[in-house]
């Protein structure tokens, strides 16, 4: 993956496809001091808060991920979905799809789900708490993140494993072995579409004002939301909602283990739950960068940016930028400027009311039930770049 560098050679350089590359390394911090951006083996990396803020919504940029299948020389059902779904669309088409989807993701609908989140978290904690230890990913964040999506779709919790497995197979598409894994990815994509089609048929037969019901309502005018677009949107909610939430909650636990006094504070003051989510997403966002692509030549900060250049907007580096956060240490009581963990601009995460709601409920309960949490064996991590997080996290704690 290379892209001809179009900028002055005196910019710092970051090798972001080195498996050892870390978004939190001193190398990135050094680059951030030298310049607002760095060259990479694939376009530019934007490092500072103010610039990430501006470029997330810059009119000369579009979302960059739509090219992912083409870059990997992949076609098929996954590629068709990826290229037509909301995140890959721009302009009028994106606006139309987003307007149609908005009611299904509205804060009003989410508020009604909050008691369900609490119930789900309690049930999962009850399972493992008496042992005083667990794999926090396998026993909490994964079933919880998937259970929330089951709740949203109106599926019984017992279906979570099935959904998690399909999503995991489909998620292989985001890895470096995309092309090699294509048969698995295509099979999972077809299974998920079949599954979603069944769900839609069932809801059509028994209408309800829930998430799928709202999307079916939008689908009544096919020129606004076609049958295919309806299915594509539900698949996106499943695909985009599970791993992100799983990873973000794992990162939350790791951060609190390193700051035990903050965990104790959260247990004492559960009303800090919402602020805790924001502060975790500032210091350890799972989406460490989002991509944008220049739609025409333009100049930014005196740097000429050529049409087609990919910009990696480093949310992780931006929200630890000392220009904006003079004391950037983890503190859930501090007043902070907003983080970029949900992106920003036209593509700002559509599921953020859900994600914020479910993570707040989870952290509040966990802090009260799991005292003094600590690592209890080797934590297995994804690379510390791209979409990051733990895939195994053995912890021990004192049950309360």
């Amino acid at each position: 993956m290379t892209q001809d560098s179009i900028v002055a050679d005196n910019l710092p350089y970051l090798d972001i496809s080195d498996p050892g590359f870390s978004i939190r390394s001193s190398e990135v911090m050094r680059a951030r001091e030298l310049c607002w951006c760095a060259r990479t083996n694939y376009g530019l990396a934007v490092l500072r808060y103010d610039d990430v803020q501006k470029l997330l919504r810059h009119p000369k940029l579009r979302q960059g991920s739509y090219r992912w299948p083409t870059l990997n020389d992949v076609t098929g059902e996954f590629a068709r979905w990826w290229e037509s779904m909301l995140l890959s669309q721009e302009g009028d088409n994106h606006s139309r799809l987003r307007r149609m989807a908005n009611p299904a993701f509205s804060p009003k609908l989410i508020t009604t789900l909050a008691p369900k989140f609490t119930e789900l978290a309690t049930m999962l904690i009850d399972e493992f708490a008496p042992k005083g230890e667990c794999d926090f990913i396998a026993e909490f964040t994964e079933p919880y993140a998937t259970g929330v999506i089951c709740e949203l779709l109106g599926l019984p919790f017992e279906r979570w494993r099935e959904l998690a497995d399909i999503a995991a197979d489909m998620g292989l598409a985001l890895g470096v072995t995309f092309k090699k894994d294509l048969p698995t990815i295509e099979a999972a994509t077809r299974r998920l579409f079949d599954y979603v089609e069944e769900l839609v048929e069932a809801r059509r037969a028994a209408p309800k004002d829930d998430f799928i019901g709202m999307l079916i309502k939008a689908n009544e005018d096919k020129s606004q939301l076609s049958d295919q677009e309806l299915l594509d949107m539900i698949v996106l909610a499943i695909f985009g909602g599970i791993d992100t939430t799983r990873n973000q909650l794992g990162l939350a636990m790791a951060t609190f283990i390193e700051h035990s006094e903050q965990w104790a504070l959260l247990a004492e003051q559960p009303e800090l739950g919402r602020a805790a989510v924001e502060e975790v997403m500032r210091v350890r966002p799972t989406v460490t960068w989002v991509t944008r692509e220049a739609v025409e030549d333009f100049t930014y900060n005196d740097t000429p940016i050529e049409k087609g250049t990919t910009l990696h907007l480093f949310s992780q580096s931006a929200t630890s930028d000392p220009r904006v956060f003079d004391d950037a240490s983890f503190d859930i009581t501090a007043e902070r400027k907003p983080h970029f963990g949900f992106g920003g601009g036209a593509h700002h995460c559509l599921g953020h009311f859900i994600a914020r709601g479910d993570m707040t409920e989870a952290l509040k309960l966990l802090a009260q039930r799991l005292k003094n949490p600590r690592f209890n064996g080797e934590v297995e991590w994804l690379p510390d770049s791209g979409n990051t997080g733990a895939i195994r996290m053995p912890i021990a704690f004192d049950p309360a």
């Binding site: 803020q53 919504r57 009611p103 009003k108 907003p338 036209a346 995460c349």
Partner: protein, 61 residues
């Protein structure tokens, strides 16, 4: 109905412009503008925009 945006918390995502383009718009400098008094036919759009705003910066009254 009156429309107000709290510019202290607005982050210029433009979700309101997507949800209700007749009420909210960006100018060439990227500054947000909105119709301050709307009639009954626009209330549903304004509410959709207010719901969609990620920062919950839109106040209707």
């Amino acid at each position: 109905m009156k429309v107000h945006v709290n510019m202290d918390i607005c982050l210029l995502h433009g979700q309101c412009v997507i949800a209700a383009p007749e009420i909210f718009s960006f100018d060439d400098n990227g500054d947000l503008h909105w119709v301050e008094v709307i009639d009954d036919s626009q209330v549903a759009d304004a509410e959709a925009a207010s719901d969609a705003c990620p920062e919950q910066a839109i106040i209707l009254g």
